[in-house]
Amino acid sequence: MPATEPTADRPAPPRAKVKQRPGDRIFAGLSTGAGVLILVVLAGVAAFLLVEAWPAIIAPSDEIPGRGGLTLYIWPLLFGTLISAFFALLIAAPLATSIALFITHYAPRRLSQALGYVIDLLAAIPSIIYGLWGIFVLAPATVGPTRWLTEHAGFIPLFAGPPSATGRTMLVVIIVLAVMILPIISAVVREAFRQTPRLHEEASLALGATHWEMIRMAVLPFGRSAIVGASMLGLGRALGETMAVAIVLSVSGGVTFNLISSGNPSTIAANIALQFPESTGLDINALVASGLVLFAVTLAVNMLARAIINRRREFSGAN
């Protein structure tokens, strides 16, 4: 519309100047600064990774550890990272959601408070403790059951076996990771469920919904974006978990969906932690290159989560 566009010979009328308050200005400056700082840090990390990884990227393939080139070096690690984090999330997300639901909508008040408290405590346990629990308690305990699994469910590739005699398997890593990310997911989801508007719960009950139908109609849809967001938070933690994996997993390389044998791929983070002290020269550059891949995967996961949440934004109730 030309009518709204001020032209050179007919300048727009001068706008009344809004009085600037110092408080507004300081706050605007601070929050903009914080936002920019985050971007700068992110870009700095990316740049550092790229620079340090560069020698490994351009190096001839027989100078990379394993002598098969960078892709072949990183791929099993990436596979191990993804498979452990994915299955951990697959266990933890539904469980955490159920726990949150139980705490907010089923448990009597006293029990719900106690349970919430215990779950929050779980989140405060350092990951090395989880690792020790994994190797000393969980790993031996899984030896019997995995043998049974191979015998009775061996046709499923995940349980093909032969089962590891020590129990230091991908399966144990997955369970440990699931337990580690459970508290954070359930804490976030719990808060979302707790804030379900009473109004909407009553709307469904007044239609003749049972308690469970009310939860499906009002509570779960309302908490949906929190469930996705919390899961991504948990997934991020699982992808980057170092100590627990490094302690538990017995690594022999190789890409396999078999979760219970002793031939496991490592994960990127655990591999960096284990290899770094003994690495020099190009080996370090290769490790950093694997870190760069982890960084990219984590970013991609976050963007995916954002896309999922935005897809149904207009139905979020935030308008």
């Binding site: 909407h200 709307a203 007044a206 239609l207 003749g208 139908e213 849809p221 949906r224 207009e314 139905f315």
Partner: protein
Amino acid sequence: MAKRIEVKDLDIYYDKFLAVQNVSLTIEPRSVTAFIGPSGCGKSTFLRSLNRMHELVPHARVEGTVVMDDQDLYGPNVDPVSVRRQVGMVFQRPNPFPTMSIHENVAAGLRLNNARISKGDLDELVERSLRAANLWNEVKDRLNKPGSGLSGGQQQRLCIARAIAVQPDVLLMDEPCSALDPISTQAIEDLINDLKADYTIVIVTHNMQQAARVSDTTGFFNLQGVGQPGQLVEIDDTTKIFSTPANQATEDYISGRFG
């Protein structure tokens, strides 16, 4: 459809607090019964006892009987969920489900009652309910858009459509216009007039003119004093209540000398 409700000696408690005392009355089918009274006198509490929403508050309970066409709503084998399927409710603030489209909102109750309903039947029932709620023409082109995108008055009519979609016998409305502008209020009042051909309607309102405009029968609730239970002072034909009420307190209230 459209059933008669008989309430006898009803006391309504929140734990130990007696909120409403000794209500006895009859609500006629295919008519509009309005309840007026100062705030805090227990109108909402009484209304919610008619579809057993009251007992959702922990330790809330009632004594006495509420009978709907020979069915004792508080009988020993009566499931509150089935009571609520027969007695629909519209709330003070419009509360369409924000995560659902307009179509899904209206269909929400239908899916509960009848999970196997075919798509064609569902669409037909949704359209019929929206038409009955005088909303069809305004939303027919955007049935898949969120219900929360409508204006307040439209949202309230959407909630009415949702409530009548399951074809209840009775429709309860708790101050359905108190969050709306005059034009939307007018639309809802017209709608109430249309709906009374098919439903028993019970409406709580703080607006006496509204009670006078829409109802056939009006009941006046009052409080004896702070901390005292609310009581039904009198209930009669709306014209009688607003011209020659039997009770002095009613007259004071409707002439604005009180509350």
